[in-house]
């Protein structure tokens, strides 16, 4: 059974069709990349998967881990192991990073039938993960994402992913706004999480990220449909020819 199976997915935002029939199957342990130009529906797909309100599914279905994903609320999906690394992580003044992460981790542990971690256990666990991502105690203590640089926010997303240990992680343009050092750091954090029972869906505009997080499959999204699928070489081909060569193929 695939971990994620999307069949004929259509979705609208404010009544405007954005996704126009997406089919995608991701098996456990696989890394898929979705590439597409601006406005092709990449972020909409990410939000539909994560369960954001305002994204209306008008046709199609999504099976996740044997369940009907569209029947689940956003927080249920997260507790069931689905994780979205945000393109624009939200700043939340007054909520300390550690408070937030502890609440999230214990919600997910509760769902898995594990006992909550106490403050000491939690801190020890988080510090181990944070060190690899160059995240300081000060960053953890501060209000969530407040005053963080673009790179710090993305590292923080990678930390959350490392701590919450999802089954299915969706990375929405994780490379945007990152310099090369930060990109390598985040990519190595993501790669450390690759596992036979964990799948990744990497959404990106550029091939650059895929040099560091090497996908098993690459899909090109245009006008809300997958117009071409292939292996990692498709990303290289796309980089050479540009989106124009593929977007025209949508009628095919």
């Amino acid at each position: 059974m695939p971990l994620l199976e999307i069949n004929g997915l259509h979705a609208t935002v404010d009544g405007k069709p954005i996704l126009n029939g997406i089919d995608l199957v991701i098996e456990a342990g696989e890394v898929h990349a979705i590439m597409g130009p601006n406005g092709s529906g990449k972020s909409t797909l990410a939000y539909v998967l994560a369960g954001r309100e305002g994204y209306e599914v008008t046709a199609g279905e999504i099976r996740y881990d044997g369940k009907d994903l569209l029947e689940m609320a956003a927080d249920e999906r997260a507790r069931a192991g689905l994780f979205l690394a945000f393109q624009y992580p939200v700043e939340i003044p007054g909520v300390a990073g550690t408070t937030f992460l502890k609440a999230a981790l214990n919600a997910i542990r509760g769902h898995r039938g594990e006992s909550p971690l106490d403050a000491m256990q939690f801190l020890k666990f988080v510090r181990e993960k944070a060190g690899a991502l160059n995240i300081t105690d000060d960053m953890l203590r501060r209000s969530l994402n407040v005053g963080f640089s673009g790179g710090e926010k993305k590292r923080n997303e990678a930390l959350q992913m490392a701590v919450l240990e999802p089954k299915m992680a969706i990375l929405d343009e994780t490379d945007s706004g990152l310099d090369i050092d930060a990109l390598k750091l985040v990519a190595s954090g993501v790669n450390a999480l690759r596992a036979p029972d964990r799948s990744l869906l990497v959404i990106t505009h550029y091939q650059r990220l895929l040099d560091y997080i090497v996908p098993d499959y690459v899909h090109i999204l245009a006008d809300g449909r997958i117009v071409r699928s292939g292996d990692k070489l498709l990303a290289v081909e796309l980089e050479e020819k540009g989106y124009g060569a593929f977007v025209g193929a949508k009628a095919a």
């Binding site: 309100e53 927080d75 007054g94 609440a103 999230a104 919600a107």
Partner: protein, 427 residues
């Protein structure tokens, strides 16, 4: 023109020292002339007292005041001195005022020689501007008397516990508190207003701070669901005095807390607050900061959360008089609305006559941010907990304005309890 209404003015005035008799007589005349405030008066535009008039409040008797134990809901202040008042009258048995430091007098206002009160009582508060404060002056019977001599230091907070208590019959009373700090004196005063039953507490507090005196003054209004709480405080700050004020209102059916401060030269004034309303509560915070002299700083931050059908009012006026050059004034009012049935009226007002001043103000009213809520939920946090985290975050820097550590923790605990109840009700 609509007929003036003057309820609660049927008691005979208590005779005493001639100057007090004159004060009472003038005040009663003032109340009768103005009547109970109505929405036609600008100052009472958003707070309607008609409901107050429909209840047959009896004057709380001088003798045989119901003995009331201290209910839950007071600020938790271990080691504080304690002055307890039941329906405005001093309750010696429940008070703890032994071993006061040198130069500190604390007790019942009714027990103080009127000659000692004459320079202060009714001289600090401008009760002409507030008909119910005038009514208080006419009928005041007792309250807190706190006087610190020059350089005196109160070594632990004084906890004024005001219990509003009514059984079968609704009760009205007029507590009158007087706080006088001599030059360079220092004190912390914490007020907890709690109670049970249908009560109308109409309080006036006058405070006079001498040169370089310091007062921390924190008030918790946590009265019973059927209570009406009307309070008027006026604080006079002499040169170089500093005042750290905070008002947390979370109780009562209808509450209005009005604070007026007058600032001398080089005064530091902090006048902050928070309000938490649910059900059909109406909570009004009205403030007036009067910069009369140069070089003073005032900071005012009021934050509130309203749920269900609760209504909030913030009226904050800052007056910078012509001589008050180099004034630094900052005012902010922020309200979070958790439900569509809530209403907030916010009226910030700056009136500036000096030309070399720095004054800013802002007011925002809004709902929880959907982006933030989704972000928390996308990490597995259930909606009720996510909302509670965001509400707590909104309030996290409100109580933090309180400078004194122990009262700050005590007030935060009250806020946390309110938040827990809110989270529980949205599950």
């Amino acid at each position: 023109m609509a007929r003036k209404s003057t309820p609660f003015a049927d008691e005979a005035l208590v005779a005493g020292a001639p100057w007090i008799d004159a004060l009472r007589g003038d005040a009663l005349a003032c109340y009768r002339e103005q009547g109970l405030p109505t929405a036609r008066s600008e100052a009472w535009k958003f707070t309607n007292l008609r409901r107050l008039e429909r209840i047959a409040f009896a004057p709380s008797p001088a003798k045989g005041t119901p003995v009331a134990e201290i209910p839950d809901g007071i600020a938790a202040l271990d080691g504080a001195y304690r002055a307890v008042f039941v329906n405005g009258r001093f309750d010696a048995a429940q008070s703890r005022l032994g071993d006061l430091p040198k130069g500190v007098e604390i007790g019942s206002l009714a027990a103080v020689d009127p000659d000692l009160l004459e320079p202060y009582l009714g001289r600090i508060a401008d009760t002409q501007v507030h008909p119910l404060a005038a009514l208080n002056t006419a009928y005041m019977a007792d309250g807190l008397y706190m006087k610190l001599a020059d350089n005196a230091v109160l070594d632990a907070p004084l906890h004024l516990i005001s219990i509003a208590s009514a059984g079968e019959t609704a009760q009205r009373f007029h507590p009158r508190h007087l706080v006088v700090l001599g030059e360079n004196a220092t004190a912390t005063l914490v007020e907890s207003h709690v109670g049970a039953g249908e009560t109308f507490s109409n309080t006036v507090l006058e405070a006079d701070l001498g040169v370089s005196a310091m007062l921390n003054h924190y008030k918790l209004q946590n009265e019973a669901p059927d209570a009406f709480h009307i309070a008027f405080s006026q604080i006079r700050l002499a040169d170089r005095a500093s005042y750290d004020g905070f008002v947390l209102q979370t109780g009562a059916r209808l509450a209005r807390n009005e604070v007026r401060v007058q600032l001398g030269d080089r005064v530091e004034c902090r006048l902050n607050g928070a309000y938490l309303g649910r059900g059909d509560q109406h909570i009004d915070n009205t403030t007036f900061i009067d910069h009369t002299a140069p070089n003073s700083t005032s900071r005012e931050v009021y934050k509130g959360v309203l749920d269900d059908r609760a209504r909030g009012v913030f009226q904050g006026k800052i007056l910078v008089r012509k001589d008050a050059q180099k004034t630094n004034g900052h005012q902010l009012n922020k309200t979070l609305l958790l439900s569509r049935g809530t209403e907030m009226d916010s009226k910030p007002e700056l009136e500036i006559y000096a030309d070399d001043v720095k004054c800013g103000h802002g007011a925002t009213t809004g709902e929880l941010e959907e982006d933030a809520l989704f972000y928390l939920r996308a990490r597995g946090i259930a909606p009720a907990e996510a909302r509670a985290m965001l509400v707590a975050a909104f309030l996290s820097d409100a109580v933090a304005e309180i400078q004194a550590e122990q009262p700050r923790a005590a007030f935060q605990a009250v806020v946390d309890q309110w938040l827990d109840a809110t989270e529980a009700s949205t599950r």
